[in-house]
Amino acid sequence: MSPLDLLQALGARALKVFRALGHHAFFFAELIAHLPQALRRFYLVVVQIHAIGNYSLVIIAASGLAVGFVLGLQGYYTLSRYGAAESLGLLVALSLVRELGPVVTALLFAGRAGTSLTAEIGLMKAGEQLAAMEMMAIDPKSRVLAPRFIGGIIAMPLLAAMFSAVGIFGGYVVGVLLIGIDAGQFWSQMQDGVDVFDDVGNGIVKSFVFGVACTFVALYQGYETQATPEGVAQATTRTVVISSLAVLLLDFVLTAVMFSTPR
């Protein structure tokens, strides 16, 4: 391959990437422009919060409990080396509300609700339901996508809060009920060390951003899928891969912005 060919191939690849980014940006802008219409018919959003959030509760609660158990055990072994086992409550709470709650919830959300959204929209496209809607002079972005987008954005912080709450309970079960740490110490250190705005607030902001990212990826992949069984299968896989990577990358950026400056 001559240097000119290489340059041409690189240029073509770069153009493809920029075109895809531009397409994503336009799609996102269109989605945002349709949000007011969806908010005016809030019952459509409520249906989606129920579909996306309520049906994810079991997996979120079970995962939160398991993570809480593990945090309780691992935290106790580490803290007891330094004679600080009473700080277990604080460790569990900070780990969950700052980091694990939003991140693990978002990863589970991508696998449970994100794939469901992509497959649903993709199959609607394959069954010409979206085309039928357009021919009825109804914009699918307004009627189908926007309510799901808002539903996902609202559901994610709620699910993350549920994950953290159940996780803290899991840490309590292991630390207090099984290992025997003083319950007063467990809760008081947590109450003393967790800041509502800096810790809980930033965790909520994170899960909100993850909600936007994961729901957008799922809707985009579903809407732009090829209307074939293979197309829907590939779109569903892409939803999980892109959402997970986006969550991990965004988490690093948000953590750097939120927690890098020592108080």
Binding site: E128, Q129, M135, M136, D139
Partner: protein
């Protein structure tokens, strides 16, 4: 019968849709419709017929503004269809109903909710009135009793009739039918054909039927266009005129002959050469 090359002055002057020298392809290298002109008379049932892949459904989608023609124009009741003008498109689409080939019903809704969907989206009618309209439309297609069923509980023929009820929910001026007879048993096919004719006569709407079912189309249509596999209008006329045609391509299509101007075999190397046989 009129040859495609002749101007279509014989068709009624009161045209609801005019397709004027439209050329279109999904890719620049492959043209689907080639200089197609057609006029669809107000209040009449017009069939667009032709073999699979000749561009019949594409023509419907161009009329609905889903795609923009590469060349030529489409006039919808005096207004030029511009696929880039979303407001114009949505205004025009509120005046049309479309029956998709497989119904395109919303699978998360019941039969009743499917028919009520356009009414709820486009009108502020009270729920009691929506209920009455939906049940009347379902009654017109013989499915009032199926209103509470889920879409997964109805047969293919019933789904087509439900989609028809949904397409006429807003009493459109234009109803487009994409392969309404495909995959139906003879009874459902006859029922659907009669329904299309009766609905057209009762509502005074203009109907376009895209199909390759010759007998059913000829039974109910007032006028028909025949497209060739190259996406050109081969012939047009009343069913009687087309049936009397001695044009080889028209005769082959209407009689369903396997070979003729439209070749049975896709272009390929000679058989002897392909299999390495000396003749």
């Amino acid at each position: 019968m009129l040859r495609a090359q002749s101007r279509q002055d014989a068709v009624s002057q009161d045209d609801f849709i005019t397709v004027d020298r439209v050329t279109f392809g999904y890719e620049p290298s492959r043209t689907i419709l080639n200089d197609v002109s057609a006029r669809f008379a107000r209040g009449k049932v017009t069939a667009i017929m032709g073999g699979s892949g000749c561009g019949k459904t594409t023509l419907l989608r161009l009329i609905g503004g889903v795609y923009a023609a590469d060349r030529g124009s489409i006039i919808f009741d005096g207004e030029r269809v511009d696929a880039r003008d979303k407001n114009l498109l949505f205004r025009l689409r509120r005046r049309l109903g479309m029956l998709f080939q497989f119904g395109a019903l919303f699978t998360d809704l019941t039969v009743f909710e499917n028919v009520a969907f356009p009414l709820r989206e486009h009108t502020n009618l009270p729920e009691s009135m929506i209920r009455d309209i939906v049940l009347m439309k379902l009654n017109a297609v013989g499915l009032r009793g199926a209103a509470p069923l889920r879409i997964s509980e109805v047969s293919g023929g019933m789904a087509r009739r439900i989609a028809l009820a949904r397409a006429i929910a807003l009493d459109p001026d234009l109803i487009m039918y994409d392969e309404p007879f495909a995959g139906l048993d003879p009874i459902s096919m006859g029922v659907t054909a009669n329904l299309i004719r009766k609905l057209n006569d009762a509502t005074g709407a203009t109907s376009l039927i895209v199909s390759h079912d010759v007998q059913e189309c000829f039974m109910i249509c007032d006028y028909a266009y025949l497209l060739s596999s190259a996406g050109r209008v081969v012939a047009h006329g009343t069913p009687r005129e087309l049936q009397a045609s001695d044009d080889p391509e028209v005769r082959q299509f209407i009689r369903g002959e396997p070979d003729g101007p439209v070749r049975f075999h896709y272009p390929a190397r000679p058989v002897a050469e392909e299999f390495g046989v000396r003749v």
